[in-house]
Subunit: 337 residues, 2 copies
């Protein structure tokens, strides 16, 4: 860990100037401040500084995720995080981000400049600049649904996808389904990959064949159903598991368009249990991710990291919610189509 | 959840008698009390009662694990748990257990009778009676190194074995070792199974062959080295990874008995970083499990479960500790032996 003096030496400037840069004094230029901050980050000064400040400020960065009303995936996560943070007397700022912001400034510099002791990142993908930078960060950081190897300052919070998928397969297997299709989320996502692996191993565990013609990657939006449901139906699927409730809503629409009924001809299962799940026609059987608990757990994890408890992964239980979009399998006659 | 009245109805006794049984009043017989408690547990009354009591009492059950002095594996785990519990104003009782105790009374009944709101189980195996009962318990419970499927009241805390094993393989691979042996712990252990799987996948990831002649299960004691080290040496191992520091200490003794040197002829890596690791000859390169953090995290998890945050798994980072028991590979001439 560098000292202020070492930063001053490296830049050939006075210690007082470094101190002004770090503390955001108004009598140095913005360029000089940026230089001081970048150098401080580069020399590993960041976490030391943040521990020394008495402020208890953390932030939530959100990208590619709706969170502004209760219907949306991110809403309760943010609420849960804030609840737990408030109980421990931490201030939380929500900062919507985008690629420009990530290119403009390094993650550690942003955190140092704004005096945050830690961050929770929602909706980022493994391709985001800031996520790349997390392999080296010294700032306590929690990622939803993403995992960074070998950095003790970064933790991963999520739902146990493996148990979730297994609960869904178990349910369909008990209903007599054998030709189970799986419409996954987007390909470049750790969660999609976990769900794919979990689907294969749960099918195998249940003595069922995971047919490659019945497994597709889509996107986490209803619209992707159009591209894949026709193939699933042609290939004899009697049940379709979806990587999200939104995908499932698109699947139901598409199945009905083909003149088939949900659940009488094709059972459909979602994932997440968003508020819309219960109000679809028919109400959706799904795997619940408890989003308030995800938020609370993210704060627990972040609080641990800030206090040097190097938690790597924290997974919540997935809960099976049975509604009306699944029914016993009656083998479809393919000539119906 | 049953009410006191329902328990009374079921047993055909007065509500006041049920109440006395649940609260341990002295004017009913021990037999009647046991009957009331067993019935209450059976009818799902346990967790309700425990939530209603204002006492903040949890307990640690320990079996097959030494914890009484700082040299031993369990010591810092208990300390870490107590530290975190004290900070949140919970009382902790440490209860050494054995098979007799588990046979004498059901887990839930024991918890209800003693007014504990939750438990942390250390050193139990999947074959213990109480662990079997955990599939159905409604008492918030955390297991070290063991996982119970599909029960939202039970969580698993441990170290990320996969990353730990991968760090060790990475280190040996960088030193040029190819014939890497793995002396695992006992076979009926979830952790041993995880480490086995992790070893295979890490070797594969590094482009190395996991040779079945170089993989054995032992026990978590030094003595097991005698049975397996001779075979490893005969089969050309230049490095031996061990599932614990105690196993590694036995391995070093055994390697030396064969007229070979550690690390010049054979590199040895442990797991755990117990206090003895640094004082072995040579000081042991190992994978550290931070036991204080395991204890702290176990409490965090238990606190979550008590407050209905259904955490399933909480894993800590494994840390690579380089000392002097590993060195660059110089291929051994098998005719040396």
């Amino acid at each position: 860990m560098a000292t202020i003096k070492e930063i001053a030496n490296k830049l050939g400037i006075a210690v007082s100037t470094v101190s002004k840069g770090l503390n955001g004094a108004s009598d140095i230029s913005a360029e000089m401040r940026q230089l001081v901050l970048d150098t401080a980050v580069e020399m590993g000064y960041a976490s030391k500084k943040m521990k020394a400040t008495g402020t208890r400020k953390v932030c939530i960065f959100i990208e590619n995720m709706d969170y502004e009303n209760i219907e949306q995936f991110g809403y309760e996560i943010v609420v849960g995080f804030k609840l737990s943070a408030a109980r421990r007397h931490w201030d939380v700022t929500v900062v919507p981000t985008n690629l420009n912001m990530q290119t403009a400034e390094k993650f550690d510099t942003y955190m140092l400049k704004n005096g945050y002791s830690g961050a929770f990142l929602l909706g980022f993908t493994l391709h985001d600049d800031w996520v790349w930078q997390l392999t080296k960060t010294t700032v306590p950081t929690v990622l939803l649904d993403n995992y960074i190897e070998r950095n003790n300052h970064v933790g991963y919070v999520g739902t146990d996808n493996s148990e979730g998928i297994d609960l869904a397969v178990d349910h369909l297997n008990n209903l007599g389904h054998k030709n189970i299709a799986f419409l996954n989320g987007s390909k470049n996502s750790m969660v999609s990959e976990q769900r794919y692996q979990s689907f294969i191993s749960s099918m195998t565990k249940h003595g069922l064949t995971a047919d490659e013609n019945l497994i597709e990657y889509g996107y986490y939006v209803p619209d992707c159903a159009k591209d894949h449901v026709p193939g699933f139906i042609r290939n004899g699927a009697t049940a379709i598991m979806c990587a999200s409730d939104l995908i499932a809503s698109g699947v139901i629409t598409e199945v009905v368009k083909h003149g088939l009924r949900v659940p009488e001809d094709v059972s459909v299962i979602g994932f997440d249990d968003l508020p819309i799940a219960a109000s679809l026609t028919p109400p959706l059987t799904t795997i619940r991710q408890d989003r308030t608990d995800l938020g609370k757990s993210a704060f627990l994890l972040l609080d641990g990291l800030i206090h040097n408890v190097t938690i790597s992964k924290l997974l919540l239980r997935a809960k099976f919610i049975q509604r009306e979009s699944t029914a016993p399998c009656k083998s479809r006659d393919l000539s119906d189509l």
